[in-house]
């Protein structure tokens, strides 16, 4: 449960599509302690506007102290981040939240849609690393708008399992939704499904898993001010009644714990 605030130096900036970027930063303390599914709070600028930090999943960590963020430009904060230059410093704190509860010995199906791809690489690597029979590998389902968003990360994922891509425009893999790929894929018995992506996709994945009896963990989003349990701003309705707080109880949940907001 250690947490660190680090002034991380940007060491690499990759652009995969008009809106998709990947940043590599040196944040050795965070890298050292992070678990797949955990996130960091990033300060996007130096001034007081934008004021709040933005939450990002850890896409990958490296033994040299590097961490990676994979993100989409959706507003002002991510726009500023996308203009980061190598050598610049960003304030990060983390690792935060409850990550995936994975059982490396069991078959795993990982589904990432859009920016939901972000946490899956870290998870795929850890499952693969801790699995004593790496041959089995994970099944990785990745959905994106178009080829550019997937091409580079697919190579990274390919180290850890077999990758099934889908794109909205058909430029790579299945032409359509990644959930369609899931529905048509025979899942190994005793598989656990791990998913991250838009609310609608998660609801569909969770429904599919419930119907077919697969345990399913989802990483969800919410607006956040503090990311660490202090503001109570990140609530979501819980299936047990009342609210759960994404930054502390999540962002990864057993799908059954949540009510879907679709």
């Amino acid at each position: 449960m250690a947490q660190y605030q680090e002034n991380a130096t940007v060491t690499r900036v990759e652009q995969f599509s008009a809106e998709t970027f990947r940043l590599t930063l040196q944040a050795p303390q965070i890298a050292g302690d992070a678990q797949p599914g955990q996130f960091v709070m990033v300060r996007t600028g130096q001034g007081k506007d934008p004021l709040l930090r933005r939450p990002f999943s850890l896409h990958q960590t490296f033994s040299d102290g590097g961490v990676q963020l994979y993100f989409k430009v959706v507003g002002r904060g991510t726009e500023i981040l996308s203009r980061s230059l190598v050598g610049e410093r960003l304030s990060l704190f983390g690792p935060l939240g409850r990550g995936f509860r994975y059982r490396p010995e069991q078959p795993a199906v990982l589904i990432g849609g859009g920016l939901g791809i972000a946490p899956m690489l870290f998870l795929a690597r850890e499952i693969s690393r801790q699995n004593s029979s790496p041959a089995s590998g994970c099944q990785v389902l990745l959905g994106a708008r178009q080829k550019g968003e997937l091409a580079v990360v697919m190579e990274d994922f390919a180290q850890y399992g077999s990758v099934h891509p889908a794109t909205d425009d058909g430029s790579l893999g299945h032409h359509g939704l990644i959930t369609e790929v899931l529905f048509s894929l025979p899942l190994p018995a005793a598989a656990t499904v791990y998913a991250c992506g838009p609310e609608g996709m998660l609801a569909a994945v969770a429904g599919h898993c419930r119907r077919h009896g697969f345990p399913c963990q989802v990483s969800v989003e919410s607006v956040m001010a503090c990311g660490m349990g202090a503001c109570l701003g990140c609530n979501r309705p819980a299936s047990a009644g009342g609210y759960t707080h994404v930054c502390l109880d999540g962002p990864v949940y057993d799908a059954e714990e949540l009510l879907w907001m679709v």
Partner: protein, 313 residues
Amino acid sequence: MDGLSSGQNGPDLRVDIGSLVLANPVLTASGTFGYAREFAQLMDLHCLGGVIVKGISLHPRAGNPPPRIVETACGMLNAIGLQNVGVDRFITEKMPYLEGLRVPVVVNILGDTLDEYAEITARLAGVPGVAAIEVNISCPNVKSGGVAFGTDPAMAAAVTKAVKGRAAVPVMVKLSPNVTDITTIARAVEEAGADSLSLINTLIGMAIDLKSRRPALANVIGGLSGPAIKPVALRMVFQVARAVKIPVVGIGGIDSAEDALEFLLAGATAVQIGTANFINPRVSEEVVAGIARYVQEENLSSVRELIGAVRLG
């Protein structure tokens, strides 16, 4: 104030807010610092002048549906809806850790009726570690209670009396900025026996999400906090400090030692740091250090020399 040392021969930062003596004038504001434990990994809690915990009601409250927060220009709106575990669970679940910190703990309370305020106060009496009570008469998020108490001098005085009648520790009353003349409320609360005043709570605001054409908050309106409100807060602290004799604690948009020093100059005896904790979890520690540096550099015998020392005319 001899009981409290301010550390290894550092400058004298001790302040006295209505018989509550603090090692330095920096507290964390209610609702922005959880129950302190959340920050234990990211800063040194022991350097704080005091901790003010999330508002506690008689019974647990679930709070508002999401979304509860939205960012605004140099600020944020929140409509948490005063979610909390209720006074009994607060005492059993949260106080033991807080007591162990050996930092003054101020419990922020709220109620829908005078009786509720009195009853929470009674239950807190004698609880080890509770150094003071801060009375929230100003929360704009809950339709009942909050708004009415804080905007009417007579009601504000009544709440103050109800709490003072049962309190075993000093009572700080937290004022709402959403009023025509805050000094009237301040004086009414002072006369009713408050030991100190804190201000400001959030300004009432609203945002609309253009895509959905809906209010950005499920609660429609919320409380504006952060650097955006600092000028309003500083003005009100200045006005109130000149209108009352009891100590005033300044709150609103503080995110640096410079900001805190402005509030002291305007007449605050201490300050609370709120929203800034979210952006920089170490901010309170840095503000304490910055104030200490300033007191040293300016060769002041004590931080208390700065209180109300703004030069006019």
